[in-house]
C-alpha cells in the first residue's frame, strides 16, 4: 500500500503484536525494539515527503521528514526507548499498549505534513495517554484522568474547528507557517496553547502528571507538551506574542514549584517553566532561536525524564513522592540519588551538563534581539529552575532531614534507564557537536564554553546556591509541609461545582415553590368542593330522601310511557 511504512504505524503494529505475546520479557523486548526500528527508519529515510494518501478529496501527508520533524522524532524514539526500559517490570497490558500507541501518535503528529493528519494524531495522543493515568486504578486517578481527557480532547476539537476555518479561508490544509490573525489561525494557536500549557491553560499538566503511574509519568512527560512545542515551532515561529507568553510561562511556575509538596507535581511545574524557554525561542523565530528551542526540547526530554525516573523510583520503593515524608534516602538509594543530581545539574544548566549548552542558544537569540527585560526574566527563571529542580528535588528527597526511611535501591532496569539518560545528559553537555549537527538549521559559531559564559553561569548558580544555603540555615526557606496549593484547577474543581450546586439550589427552590403552590391550590380547591358537594356538604344536605323517591317515580313513569307509546 505504501512505499514507506509511516513510522507511527510501526508503533501501532507493535501494539497489536504485543497482545499476542505472553506477558514478560518478550513484551519488554518488543517495547524496546520498536522505538529503535522507528528511529533507524526515520534517520535513514533522509528528508522529503514520503507517504501521500487520499482522504475525502484531500491529499494527506503522513511522512514529512525535515530538520525540524527529524530531531523531534529522534528524541521521541529515544524517550520511548528509555521510558520502556524504565517500565521493564510492568506487566500491565493496558500501560504497555498505551505507551506504544501514545509514542506512535506523537511521532505521527510530528511527521504529519497536513493539519487533518495532525488532528487525528493529536487526538490519538490524548486518548492513548489517559490510560497511563487510569492505569493507577484508583478513584482519584480516574477523576483526574477524566479532567485530563476532557481538556486534551477539547484541544483537538478546537484544532479541527480552526483547521476547517483555515481551509475555508485559504483552501489549504498544509501544515506550514501561519500568520496569526484570522479566527481559524487563532483557534489553531489556542489548541496548540492548551497542549503546550500556556499560562491559565496550564493546570491540566500539574493536575494529571502526578496522578499517573510510576512509569506512566515518565512517558507522559516526554510527548504531549513537546508535540505542542513542535507544532508551535512549525506553525507560529516568529509570532511575537509567544515571546511574552513564554516569558510568563518561565516565571509563574517557579513560585508554585517552590511550595509544592508532591515532588512529581514540582517536576510538572518545572516542566511548564522549561516549556516557557522553548516558547520564547519560537516567538523570536530566528534560526538560532529555533535551534535553541529544538535543542532545548531534546535535552529537556532527557533530563526531565531522568528526574521523573528518580522520583518515580523513590515512589516505587517507599510508596510516596511527598517531600514532607522523604529525606535522607541517599543512604540506601545512592545510585538513584546520584542520577537525580545529574538530572538536577542538567536542568539547572551547570556547565558540562546538557542544559548549559542548549539553553544558551535561546538566551543568545534573545540577547541578539536586544530584548533586555525578556532576557532578565529568563536569567531569573534560570535561577528559579535551580531552586526547585536543582535543589529541592534532590535535596528534600535524598538529603535534608533523615526521614528514617531505608528503602532498597531502585531495581536494576530502572538504574539502567537512569544511567543511560544521565550519561546522555553529561555527553551532550561535554560534547554538544552531534546534537548541534542534527538541529533544524546550521549552527553558526555556537561556543557555549567561553570563559565569560561559563563564569557568568557559575556566578548565577553558585550565588543562588549560596542564597539557598543562607535561607535554609536561617530557617527562612519554606518548610515542606503536607498541603495542597490551589491553582487554576480550583475554578473547575471547586468554584465550578459550587456555582452548579448554587444554581441547582436556586432552580430547585423555585421549582419546589411552584409545585408546592400548585399542590396547595389544588388541595384547597378539592377540599372546598368536598365541603360543598361532599357527603357532609351543604349541597348534599339540601337533597332530602323524598326528592330521590320522586326522581325515581318520574323515571319509572317515563319508562312506562315510552313502553306504552312504542
Amino acid at each position: 500500500m505504501f512505499d514507506v511504512i509511516p513510522t507511527a504505524f510501526i508503533f501501532f503494529a507493535a501494539a497489536a503484536i504485543l497482545l499476542a505475546l505472553p506477558k514478560g520479557p518478550a513484551r519488554g523486548l518488543l517495547l524496546l525494539i520498536t522505538p529503535i526500528i522507528a528511529g533507524v527508519q526515520v534517520w535513514n529515510a533522509g528528508f522529503g515527503n514520503f507517504v501521500q494518501v487520499g482522504f475525502f478529496g484531500f491529499e494527506l501527508e503522513l511522512m514529512r521528514i525535515d530538520g525540524l520533524s527529524r530531531i523531534f522524532t529522534m528524541v521521541f524514539c529515544l524517550a520511548a526507548f528509555l521510558g520502556n526500559l524504565y517500565a521493564w517490570h510492568v506487566r500491565d497490558t493496558v500501560q504497555q499498549v498505551a505507551a506504544l500507541l501514545y509514542a506512535g501518535s506523537a511521532i505521527g503528529a510530528v511527521l504529519a505534513g497536513d493539519m487533518i493528519t495532525l488532528f487525528f494524531y493529536w487526538e490519538g495522543t490524548a486518548i492513548a495517554s489517559v490510560f497511563l493515568i487510569w492505569a493507577r486504578r484508583t478513584e482519584g486517578a480516574y477523576n483526574t484522568g477524566m479532567r485530563y481527557l476532557i481538556i486534551q480532547v477539547a484541544s483537538g476539537v478546537v484544532l479541527i474547528a480552526g483547521v476547517a476555518l483555515f481551509y475555508r479561508e485559504t483552501g489549504s490544509i498544509a501544515f506550514e507557517r501561519m500568520t496569526l490573525g484570522s479566527p481559524g489561525t487563532w483557534l489553531i494557536f489556542m489548541s496548540f496553547g492548551v497542549k503546550c500549557a500556556f499560562p491559565l491553560l496550564h493546570n491540566w499538566l500539574q493536575d494529571s502528571y502526578p496522578a499517573a503511574t510510576v512509569t506512566g509519568t515518565v512517558i507522559l512527560s516526554a510527548f504531549t507538551t513537546k508535540l505542542a512545542v513542535y507544532a508551535l515551532a512549525r506553525g507560529f515561529a516568529g509570532t511575537e506574542i509567544l515571546i511574552y507568553i513564554g516569558t510568563v510561562m518561565t516565571l509563574f511556575p517557579i513560585f508554585f514549584a517552590e511550595i509544592e509538596n508532591d515532588l512529581r507535581r514540582v517536576l510538572a511545574y518545572s516542566l511548564n517553566n522549561q516549556l516557557g524557554f522553548m516558547v520564547v525561542g519560537i516567538g523570536i523565530g530566528t534560526e538560532m532561536a529555533l535551534n535553541g528551542t529544538a535543542s532545548h526540547a531534546f535535552a529537556h526530554i532527557l533530563y526531565k525524564s531522568l528526574l521523573f525516573m528518580s522520583v518515580g523510583a523513590v515512589l516505587f520503593r517507599t510508596g510516596t513522592s511527598k517531600a514532607s515524608e522523604l529525606g535522607g534516602l541517599y543512604r540506601t538509594m545512592p545510585k538513584t540519588a546520584i542520577f537525580c543530581l545529574v538530572g538536577a545539574a542538567s536542568i539547572s544548566a551547570f556547565p558540562l551538563f546538557s542544559g548549559f549548552v542548549t539553553k544558551s542558544l535561546t538566551l543568545s537569540a534573545v540577547a541578539e534581539e536586544h530584548r533586555l527585560i525578556i532576557w532578565l526574566c529568563l536569567v531569573f527563571a534560570s535561577a528559579g529552575v535551580l531552586s526547585h529542580s536543582g535543589i529541592k528535588i534532590p535535596f528534600f528527597a535524598f538529603f535534608a532531614h533523615d526521614s528514617g526511611k531505608r528503602p532498597k535501591e531502585a531495581p536494576t532496569h530502572m538504574l539502567w534507564a537512569m544511567g543511560i539518560t544521565a550519561f546522555l545528559c553529561i555527553a551532550i553537555g561535554i560534547y554538544p557537536a552531534p546534537l548541534y549537527a542534527i538541529l533544524p538549521f546550521e549552527v553558526q559559531d555556537a561556543h557555549p564554553y567561553t570563559t565569560g559564559h561559563v563564569t557568568s553561569q557559575l556566578q548565577l548558580l553558585l550565588f543562588a546556591l549560596l542564597a539557598f544555603t543562607f535561607l535554609y540555615r536561617k530557617g527562612i526557606h519554606p518548610p515542606e509541609i503536607r498541603a495542597v496549593n490551589v491553582d487554576t484547577d480550583w475554578t473547575y474543581r471547586k468554584a465550578g461545582p459550587a456555582v452548579i450546586y448554587w444554581l441547582a439550589w436556586v432552580v430547585g427552590s423555585i421549582y419546589n415553590g411552584i409545585i408546592g403552590l400548585l399542590a396547595k391550590t389544588t388541595t384547597r380547591t378539592i377540599r372546598r368542593l368536598h365541603n360543598s358537594h361532599g357527603p357532609e356538604g351543604r349541597m348534599a344536605r339540601n337533597w332530602p330522601t323524598g326528592a330521590m323517591v320522586l326522581a325515581i317515580a318520574v323515571l319509572l313513569g317515563a319508562t312506562l310511557l315510552v313502553n306504552f307509546l312504542i
Binding site: F380, L471, A483
Partner: protein, 116 residues
C-alpha cells in the same frame, strides 16, 4: 519519623556509606565554606578578562552573582508569601483525589534495603 532501632550504617551500600560523609558532624560547615570559596573564585575570575555581552549590565563585574543571589532570595520570599494565599489542607479536594489516597501498593515494590 524516628530512626529505626536496628539501623546499621555499616550495612548500607558502599556508595551510600561514602555519601554519608555529608551527615558527619562538621561536614555541613565544610560544604558551606567550599561553596563560599567557589563563589569567591567565580567572582574573582571575572577580573582576569574583559567581560563582553550584548547588554550594558553584562559588563558590570559581579552582575550575575548579585542578580542570582538577590533574585533567588526574592523568589523564596515571594513563594513563601504566595503559600499564605494558596495553601489548603491536603484533603481540600475531598477523599476522591490523588492527594489523599495512597498509591496502590500492588503496583509498587516497597522494600527495605535489608529485604532480599
Amino acid at each position: 519519623m524516628a530512626q529505626k532501632p536496628k539501623d546499621d550504617p555499616a550495612t548500607y551500600p558502599a556508595l551510600g556509606r561514602m555519601l554519608g560523609w555529608v551527615d558527619k558532624p562538621g561536614s555541613d560547615k565544610k560544604i558551606v565554606w567550599a561553596l563560599v570559596v567557589a563563589c569567591a573564585m567565580a567572582l574573582a575570575i571575572e577580573w582576569t578578562f574583559t567581560p563582553h555581552g550584548t547588554f550594558q549590565v553584562e559588563y558590570i563585574r559581579g552582575f550575575y552573582a548579585a542578580y542570582g543571589f538577590v533574585m533567588f532570595t526574592g523568589l523564596i520570599l515571594v513563594a513563601k508569601a504566595l503559600r499564605y494565599f494558596i495553601k489548603r489542607p491536603e484533603d481540600y479536594y475531598g477523599d476522591k483525589a490523588i492527594d489523599t489516597e495512597e498509591y496502590p501498593a500492588d503496583q509498587l515494590d516497597i522494600r527495605e534495603y535489608t529485604d532480599v
